[in-house]
């Protein structure tokens, strides 16, 4: 086996959560099962922070979440759910309850889809409210 432990662990994580290639020697069936199990766990974590989004999709939530996040590394339950909500809104598939949940978050926090969401100042909240009119 080539490569040191740090490189091999990084390659394994990349394969499991970031769409990286299958590291040599591993059982591809078991790694695929692990990849899906990790996505289900992330979906459950995101559902706790995005109850209306997850609830609007019911039993379909883990599948929809996985369809959007497979190959995208975990960035925390708040952003994981936020990214799915924005993607669904862009393709017109966001339910009204979930849209209200997303609008509520956007009113109080600023999130550019890349870094950690930040709380808006009072002035920023007022501006966000104006933009939504």
């Amino acid at each position: 086996m080539t490569g040191n432990l740090a490189e091999r662990q990084a390659a394994l994580v990349a394969a499991l959560v970031a769409g990286g290639p299958l590291p040599p020697g591993f059982d591809p069936v078991r790694l695929a099962a692990t990849r899906r199990a990790l996505l289900r766990k992330r979906a459950a974590d995101a559902a706790r922070l995005w109850p209306l989004l997850a609830g609007s999709l019911g039993a379909d939530w883990p599948r929809v979440f996985a369809a959007h996040q497979d190959g995208h590394e975990p960035v925390g339950a708040l952003r994981d759910g936020w990214d799915v909500a924005v993607a669904l809104r862009e393709c017109g598939e966001l339910a009204a309850s979930a849209a209200a949940e997303l609008a509520g978050r956007e009113a109080t926090m600023r999130y550019d889809g890349r870094g950690a969401p930040r709380r808006r100042s009072l002035a920023g909240r007022a501006m966000a409210a104006l933009r939504r009119r």
């Binding site: 086996m1 040191n4 432990l5 740090a6 490189e7 091999r8 662990q9 990084a10 390659a11 394994l12 994580v13 990349a14 499991l16 959560v17 970031a18 040599p24 020697g25 591993f26 059982d27 078991r30 790694l31 099962a33 692990t34 899906r36 199990a37 990790l38 289900r40 766990k41 992330r42 459950a44 974590d45 590394e73 975990p74």
Partner: protein, 288 residues
């Protein structure tokens, strides 16, 4: 025999058992009301990374006021990661232990991040000499900041590394010998790994360092329709009879354990959780 009798015996009978014999439960905010009013736990565990030592949740503070031991359980230290364990994570776990006056703390034989990416869950390390070396170094870094014993939990995993040099029991025995750490034995993990590797779980039990058991985890799991024949340690399903049976086999070898239920989602009504604690107590030969 008292809880942790095996540990006390291993230490020449001098160290008191870290936890009382009895059935405990993993404290989670979603089931805090049930834990406070119905569970009557012998002890509890909190997820260290969800716990703020300066402002503990009221439910946890009340457990401590009632004299119920609470163990901080780390899930994100990544002790098996090739990089040195992060000092801030070590300091946080030590602060949790201090705030709770915990009799011990626990973490996993696992890594959770590498190469700047976070897997979001516990992953298995290769059972190799170099992995044993990095684990030993990280465990010692953690122990150096703790005033209480550390128990290490072997995880459930759906895969193994291709170049394992040790069996899981031998790897664990070597790690505990090198570090002096105790064993947090999750019988559901033993069940899951044995089933998924085509091994006999009871034979695995006999090869584990049971004289180092500090306490025991029990959790539910299930097969998933996408992966027929694979057992997933979900913590969101009921505890299956086979896991309770393995707990019975463990208790034949380690009588009077401190044993606790881990439930992490899809919480059933409190009455169902209470019933699950009852069957765990029965399987473990403990009063309720």
């Amino acid at each position: 025999m008292a809880a942790g009798g095996a540990v006390a015996a291993a230490a020449g009978g001098e160290s008191p058992p870290p936890l009382p014999a009895g059935v405990g439960v993993g404290w989670r905010p979603e089931i805090a009301g049930w834990v406070a009013d119905r569970a009557a736990p012998a002890f509890c565990e909190v997820i260290a990374e969800s716990f703020a030592p300066a402002v503990p949740p009221r439910g946890v503070a009340e457990l401590r006021e009632r004299g119920i031991p609470v163990v901080p359980h780390g899930v994100r230290l990544s002790l098996g990661g090739a990089e040195p364990v992060e000092a801030a994570r070590v300091a946080h776990l030590a602060a949790c232990a201090a705030a709770l006056s915990a009799p011990l703390v626990s973490e996993h034989v696992a890594f959770v991040r590498a190469g700047g990416r976070d897997a979001g869950h516990l992953l298995p390390v290769p059972r190799s000499r170099d992995a044993l070396d990095v684990l030993t170094a990280n465990v010692r870094r953690l122990q150096a900041e703790l005033d209480v014993p550390l128990a290490l939990e072997p995880i459930a995993a759906l895969f193994d590394w291709p170049d394992d040099e040790y069996s899981e029991p031998d790897f664990l025995r070597e790690l505990l010998e090198r570090t002096g750490a105790l064993l947090l034995l999750d019988v559901a993990n033993v069940h899951a790994n044995a089933l998924n590797r085509g091994q006999d779980p009871e034979a695995i039990l006999d090869r584990l360092p049971l004289d180092r058991v500090a306490y025991v985890h029990v959790a539910g799991g299930a097969e998933h329709p996408d992966d027929p024949g694979l057992y997933h340690d979900t913590h969101t399903d009921p505890v299956p009879p086979a896991v309770l049976g393995l707990l019975e086999r463990l208790v034949e070898r380690v009588p009077g354990p401190a044993v606790m239920l881990e439930r992490d989602g899809r919480y059933p009504p409190g009455a169902e959780l209470t019933a699950e604690l009852e069957v765990i107590a029965t399987a473990a030969g403990l009063p309720r």
